[in-house]
């Protein structure tokens, strides 16, 4: 039985298929079927021929095999310096082999490659900074994921996630109606506290188009309210699109490039439709990477930029604090040891290091902010990036991978960790659950809400 009913080379395109896949508890049948899945060597070869060009080919062949990247990878460090966790080894033993054998690989090999691609690399790109030749193993692993996805060798949750994007244009089954309805509900719930609070849906020519993570809609709708409150306090002319509001892309983690394109085009369509001056995305790292950094290329935009200037939430916050749109009550600044998680996806991979430090200078009482070591562009992945957080099959590996961040946090002595990234936030939550080091963690929004000066007209009368 080469092609399974659930595990096969077909992407999930309909709600029924998605439901069928979800009904398979933890992917049991799915993984069972994967054991018999054939490798389509011809297709693999063709894909290599079409997409493996000089950059990747050169990387693969020029690698000096010097091992200078070994120590840069947190997987290598926490797994007792297992040589099999050296970035160069991980890519040479998978993609390198596929290329050398010209696609002639078998099922067992693909299983190994799948584990390497999703359980031994979070595509954090840290190793790229340590390789003298500038070889970015994270980029290559991501490419490898694309090949594996195409062949059907992809963790169950990733297939589900990519399917969600294909079916709902969101990472979860949240419809446009759910989104608007939830946002309005939240605003309703909070307007007692903040009179005049509102959420303008589909407003043309706004200054800011706000986009979110479906998880906020589904499980943390307070986040939507908080965003609305802060935009209102700052006096922003903002709006949310009823369609094209999903910033994230599990499809990127899955290596489903077609779904990536569909997803990001839905956001760009909203931009074209509503003509906002800028887009501000919520506090999510990979979502920013997907929609703002990589997205333009999936959508085939030659300038490599989204249709309108698009910024991460931290950029908006820094700007609002800098220009005085948001004012912080100095009394309420954070007065406990606090650190920040530098998300690879917009710090290392989008240059926003100083922006987050600037925010800290406004919201933390001087002397209480402690940076992790290393930090900024050199920070380690939280341990759960690249889809790792969500994959049940690799849970033990993920929990182990959290140790790096745990130790980094413990060394700062901070009791509060600010994590303006959904994935990082999750990973830090999980590491507290797993290792109980006694920390709290938070997005920026709730912290800001507690310390921002509310203008008179937004204070409840009474």
């Amino acid at each position: 039985m080469p092609e399974g009913t659930l595990c096969n080379k077909q992407p999930v395109d309909t709600e029924e298929q998605l439901k069928a896949l979800l009904a398979d508890k933890g992917g049991q049948i799915y993984y069972e079927e994967m054991k018999h899945l054939d490798v389509d060597v011809e297709m693999l070869r063709q894909t290599l021929g079409k997409s493996l060009k000089s950059r990747l080919r050169t990387w693969l062949s020029m690698c000096a095999r010097c091992g200078m990247c070994a120590d840069s990878c947190f997987f290598y460090r926490i797994n007792d310096r297992d040589p099999k966790q050296v970035p160069a080894y991980k890519i040479q033993s998978t993609l390198g082999e596929i290329v050398r054998k010209n696609g002639n690989v078998d099922n067992a090999f693909m299983h190994m490659a799948m584990e390497t691609a999703w359980a031994k690399c979070t595509c954090c790109n840290r190793c790229a900074m340590y390789c003298p030749h500038g070889i970015d193993v994270g980029v290559m692993i991501s490419y490898l994921r694309g090949l594996l996805y195409q062949q059907g060798f992809v963790p169950w949750e990733m297939k589900v996630g990519a399917g969600m994007h294909r079916v709902y244009r969101a990472q979860m089954d949240v419809t446009p109606e759910d989104f608007v309805d939830t946002f309005e509900w939240m605003v309703e719930e909070y307007e007692e506290d903040y009179p005049g609070l509102n959420v303008p849906v589909d407003k043309d020519d706004a200054d800011i188009l706000y986009t979110v993570n479906a998880r906020e809609v589904k499980h943390y709708p307070e986040d939507l309210a908080e965003a609305a409150i802060l935009f209102n306090i700052a006096g922003e002319n903002w709006t949310v699109p009823s369609k094209g509001w999903e910033l994230t892309s599990l499809a990127m983690f899955a290596g489903d490039w077609e779904a990536c394109r569909l997803q990001v085009e839905s956001v760009y369509d909203a931009m074209d439709r509503l003509k906002p001056k800028r887009m501000v995305g919520t506090e999510c790292g990979h979502a920013h990477r997907a929609t703002v950094v990589e997205g333009p290329y999936w959508a085939g935009r030659p300038d490599g930029l989204p249709p309108v200037e698009s910024i991460h939430y931290v950029e908006w916050v820094a700007e609002a604090l800098r220009t005085g749109k948001l004012k912080i009550d100095p009394e309420k600044r954070i007065k406990e040891p606090v650190t920040i998680q530098d998300s690879c996806n917009y710090i290392r991979n989008h240059g926003l290091r100083d922006v987050t430090r600037e925010i800290m200078s406004y919201i933390v009482e001087p002397g209480y902010f402690i940076d992790m070591a290393p930090n900024g562009e050199h920070n380690y992945c939280c341990g759960g990036g690249g889809g790792f957080n969500g994959i049940g099959l690799y849970r033990p590996q993920r929990n182990k991978a959290l140790i790096t961040k745990r130790d980094q946090i413990m060394h700062t002595g901070a009791s509060l960790v600010i994590a303006p990234c959904h994935n990082c936030w999750d990973a830090i939550r999980d590491l507290e659950e797993e290792y109980q080091i006694g920390i709290r963690w938070s997005f920026l929004k709730p912290l800001l809400i507690d310390m921002v000066v509310v203008p008179e007209h937004m204070k409840p009368k009474e």
Binding site: L22, A23, K25, G26, E157, G161, M164, Q171, M172, W185, E189, E192, D193, R215, K218, H219, Y220, P221, E222, L250, K332, G384, N389, G390, I391, G392, R395, H422, N423, D426, R429, D430, E432, E433, Q436, R440, W441, S442, D450, M451, P460, E462
Partner: protein, 304 residues
């Protein structure tokens, strides 16, 4: 008054007292009882896995599991369910408890939400730290209907409402609470005790108060109560008004005990402070854990 009751429960001992009250009410007032259970938040980002509040185990919240949980709940309340006959439903949701309870309250529009003081283990799991305030606090703050909490076993031996204490602090929310209390007292033919506690704790006033001051405050409070509430109950006779001095939560609890109240109604203030806790919230929380009867929380947004 109580056509539809939503019982938010962990289906564990933690909610037994609340459940008993809810079932008794459903029986007495012929209410439809919606038994609502929240499985917890997915533990793995966008995965389907949750930590079951009840067993603390990691489970996959798929249809099969949900069906099983429903069956479990049915089993757990088997004896109490005799009281409701067929007039009940069981719902299971995935998410953070307060949010899902609010969502259910919004969708089902119940006349009353009943909950235990704690939704079980979820309260002490690590994720609670990021969601300041207890589940009750957060539900009470935002629900558009009254929220009844029962934590103590003593509060659950209950034979219907007949003596209602309303604790007021003269806020707008207290006015809403008063309206509700009056309506309830009328509908169920209860006695209504209007009560205000003058807070004499040094903390509240910033200084130790002279006895004369206290007595003056008590006089003012009584006058205020009279002018504020009496005109609003023209054809209602069975009420009493009192103002005592002391620590508000102690006084309310004592007063309720003395009057053998079977229900305390208090206002929940909308405004939250830094911790997500409403200022009055602390008084309410204290009353809840001390009172020998159920406590009903009302916020400003509760519809008349």
């Amino acid at each position: 008054m109580f056509d539809r009751i939503l019982l938010a429960t962990s289906a564990t001992e933690a909610c037994d007292h609340a459940a008993r009250v809810a079932f008794n009410m459903a029986e007495r007032y012929k209410s439809y009882l919606n038994i609502f259970h929240v499985l917890g938040l997915p533990t793995r980002a966008y995965s389907q896995d949750v930590i079951d509040v009840k067993t603390r185990e990691r489970v996959t919240a798929d249809e099969e599991y949900v069906a099983w949980v429903k069956e479990e709940i049915r089993g757990y309340y088997e004896r109490l369910l005799e009281k409701t006959g067929d007039n009940y439903g069981i719902e299971v949701a995935v998410g953070s408890p307060h949010r899902e309870i609010l969502r259910a309250a919004r969708n089902n529009d119940p006349d009353l939400v009943v909950m235990g003081g704690s939704t079980g283990h979820m309260e002490d799991s690590s994720y609670k730290k990021t969601t300041a305030g207890s589940t009750f606090q957060r539900v009470a703050k935002a629900a558009h209907c009254p929220v009844l909490v029962v934590t103590r076993p003593a509060a659950s031996f209950w034979g219907g409402f007949s003596r209602i204490v309303l604790g007021t602090d003269f806020s707008e929310a207290s006015d809403v609470a008063f309206e509700y209390a009056l309506q309830l007292a009328r509908a169920l033919d209860c006695e209504l005790f209007l009560f205000h506690a003058v807070d004499v704790s040094a903390m509240a006033m910033g200084k130790v108060m002279a006895q004369d001051d206290i007595e003056e405050k008590l006089r003012v409070a009584r006058r205020r109560m009279r002018s504020r509430y009496v005109p609003k109950m023209p054809d209602f006779e069975s009420y009493t008004m009192d103002a005592w001095e002391g620590l508000p939560y102690v006084e309310i609890t004592k007063y309720a005990r003395e009057k053998q109240a079977d229900l305390i109604i208090m206002a929940h203030h909308a405004k939250r402070d830094a911790s997500g806790q409403a200022p009055m919230g602390s008084t309410m929380e204290q009353v809840i854990v001390r009172a020998a009867c159920p406590v009903l929380s009302i916020n400003r947004s509760v519809k008349k």
